[in-house]
């Protein structure tokens, strides 16, 4: 295990300290928590947006805290959902009386911990709603699908909607609409090592890749012989596009899992754009980069979000989160 760390059990604390030190004017860490909020939280006259999950997905989730996106991000241990008391602290810190929306990724752990926090916050008189992102088409049954890179687009849309002064119910409805219209799928050429575990989550041969991976180093749905960038783009995008009717305008994201050079992501994007054009799907917005990673995993995922006028407006709205700057 070759990592630039100190104590494997302190990586989350060390990271959060290094994060707030990098953006001292934009964010703060709530004392004795693993919660990062906007520096000026709670922001008045708007719904608060809280997300989070296990660590190891950087820039998710703290990188998306900023005007126009999240009000707070809660960091768990590496690949482990944060605990309810931490989520509760985040909710309390960002509620300005207009209520708080939780953006949850569909994993047992995330759902259960955030749900508990929601109940605890409600018991303290805070209005809380939640939405659960399930964009991973590698899983057949729609209710069981995992939340992966599409989550970032939900952050963006919900954040922008809240910024417009919408009510909690309105923000929730728009986030739900985004979730209904977003699909993703990913592959890995190599696994990653959780610092506290010290061994790879799974092992691949030199000519193998995992198709349909999650974002926690879980093995994928299928193991295959490694193919070209074009073939990978085609396989992932075809599966995504078959899942619903994307005719019209879309946002598309080519996301790196951690180790894959940006060069390769753009090579994938070349084919992605060709396929979309071929199917008369218009890429209104394209995002290429590392948005939702799995430590140093090698691989990529492709996300497509079907757009309407509202989603276009919200995606285009300004954002000042370090990992998603718009305008």
């Amino acid at each position: 295990m070759k990592k630039i760390i100190n104590d494997p059990n302190q990586v989350v604390n060390d990271m959060l300290a290094g994060y707030t030190a990098a953006y001292p004017d934009e964010v703060k860490q709530l004392p004795d928590t693993t919660v990062i909020t906007k520096k000026n939280a709670p922001v008045q006259h708007k719904v608060g947006i809280v997300s989070g999950g296990g660590s190891g997905h950087e820039p998710a989730h703290a990188g998306y805290v900023g005007k126009g996106m999240l009000d707070a991000a809660v960091a768990g241990e590496v690949f482990t959902s944060p605990t309810p008391d931490q989520v509760l602290e985040a909710i309390k810190a960002v509620d300005a009386g207009k209520g708080v929306l939780l953006v949850i990724k569909n994993y047992s752990g995330d759902v259960i911990n955030f749900d508990m926090a929601k109940e605890m916050a409600e018991a303290e008189g805070i209005e809380v709603e939640s939405v659960v992102v399930k964009d991973d088409v590698a899983i057949e049954n729609i209710e069981d699908r995992r939340g992966i890179a599409g989550t970032i687009l939900v952050h963006k849309v919900a954040g922008a909607k809240a910024e417009e002064g919408a009510t909690l119910q309105e923000v929730k409805a728009t986030a739900e609409k985004t979730i209904t219209n977003v699909r993703s799928m990913g592959i890995a050429l190599d696994s990653c090592i959780v610092p506290a575990a010290g061994t790879p989550s799974f092992e691949l041969k030199e000519n193998e890749m995992e198709v349909g991976i999650g974002i926690h180093g879980e093995p994928g749905i299928e193991r295959k012989e490694i193919s070209s960038a074009d073939a990978i783009a085609e396989e992932l995008l075809d599966t995504v596009l078959q899942d619903m009717d994307f005719t019209g305008e879309v946002a598309v994201m080519v996301n790196g899992m951690g180790s894959t050079p940006e060069m390769e992501l753009f090579i994938v994007n070349k084919k992605v754009q060709a396929i979309l054009a071929d199917k008369n799907i218009h890429a209104y917005k394209t995002l290429v980069g590392e948005y939702m990673t799995s430590l140093e995993m090698t691989g990529c995922s492709i996300t497509v979000l079907k757009l309407d006028d509202e989603l276009k407006r919200l995606l285009d709205a300004p954002s000042f989160a370090p990992a998603f700057r718009n305008e």
Partner: protein, 206 residues
């Protein structure tokens, strides 16, 4: 069975020992059909429980259970953390003011725990989760005339073994579908350690 406050404390401290000894085993189970952190998670949680209970003086059973629940809730995370926390929290509510836990009170507690886990995890028996073990032990204690340590240990062991042949439909293991068959559920394995520790404490009393 009649467990004292000190028995309860010993039980949870012993659980911590067992979890530590089996950290790598739990992690290995979770690498096969999960994300490989169950050992790390459980050690982090029960280490904190031991830290909390060891120096504390308790007069009543529910105080021990509540501290355990709240500590697990705030230190584990993942899927297992809030479920274990819920189990102990629901149990707490059935043990208010008790200084000893007899079999009937115990059964009330495990019943509340099982209901709590099921509700929180939206799961039931047969889905290859920790529920297998908790439900089996609860059933045993509720239906037996006079339950023995040996019986509890047997029930937990068998339920854990039985999880091996199930296909997971809840939690991370569900992504593996039929490939989850043939592997023991990590949450069953950790729950099994918990009830093995209980059986050892009871044996000391028997």
């Amino acid at each position: 069975m009649d467990l004292t406050v000190q028995d309860m404390k010993n039980w949870l401290l012993k659980t911590n020992e067992k979890i530590k000894e089996n950290k790598d085993y739990l992690t290995k189970l979770d690498q096969a059909i999960g994300d490989g952190d169950h050992g790390i998670n459980m050690v982090r949680g029960f280490e904190k429980v031991a830290e909390k209970l060891e120096p504390a003086e308790y007069a009543e059973i529910d105080a021990v259970l509540k501290d355990t629940a709240m500590t697990l809730m705030s230190s584990i995370g993942g899927a297992s953390g809030p479920l274990y926390a819920t189990a102990f929290l629901k149990w707490t509510a059935t043990a208010k003011g008790l200084e000893t836990l007899d079999q009937e009170a115990f059964a009330k507690g495990t019943q509340a725990a099982v209901d709590g886990i099921k509700q929180r995890g939206k799961a039931t028996e047969g889905e290859k989760t920790m529920i297998e073990v908790w439900a089996r032990v609860n059933e045993l204690v509720a239906s037996s005339e006079k339950v023995t340590a040996e019986q509890i240990q047997q029930a937990a062991n068998t339920a854990t073994e039985d999880s091996k042949e199930m296909e997971a439909t809840k939690g991370r293991a569900a992504y593996f579908k039929e490939k989850s068959i043939g592997h023991i559920d990590p949450g069953c394995a950790s729950s099994n350690l918990l009830f093995e520790a209980l059986a050892e404490v009871m044996k000391g009393n028997e």
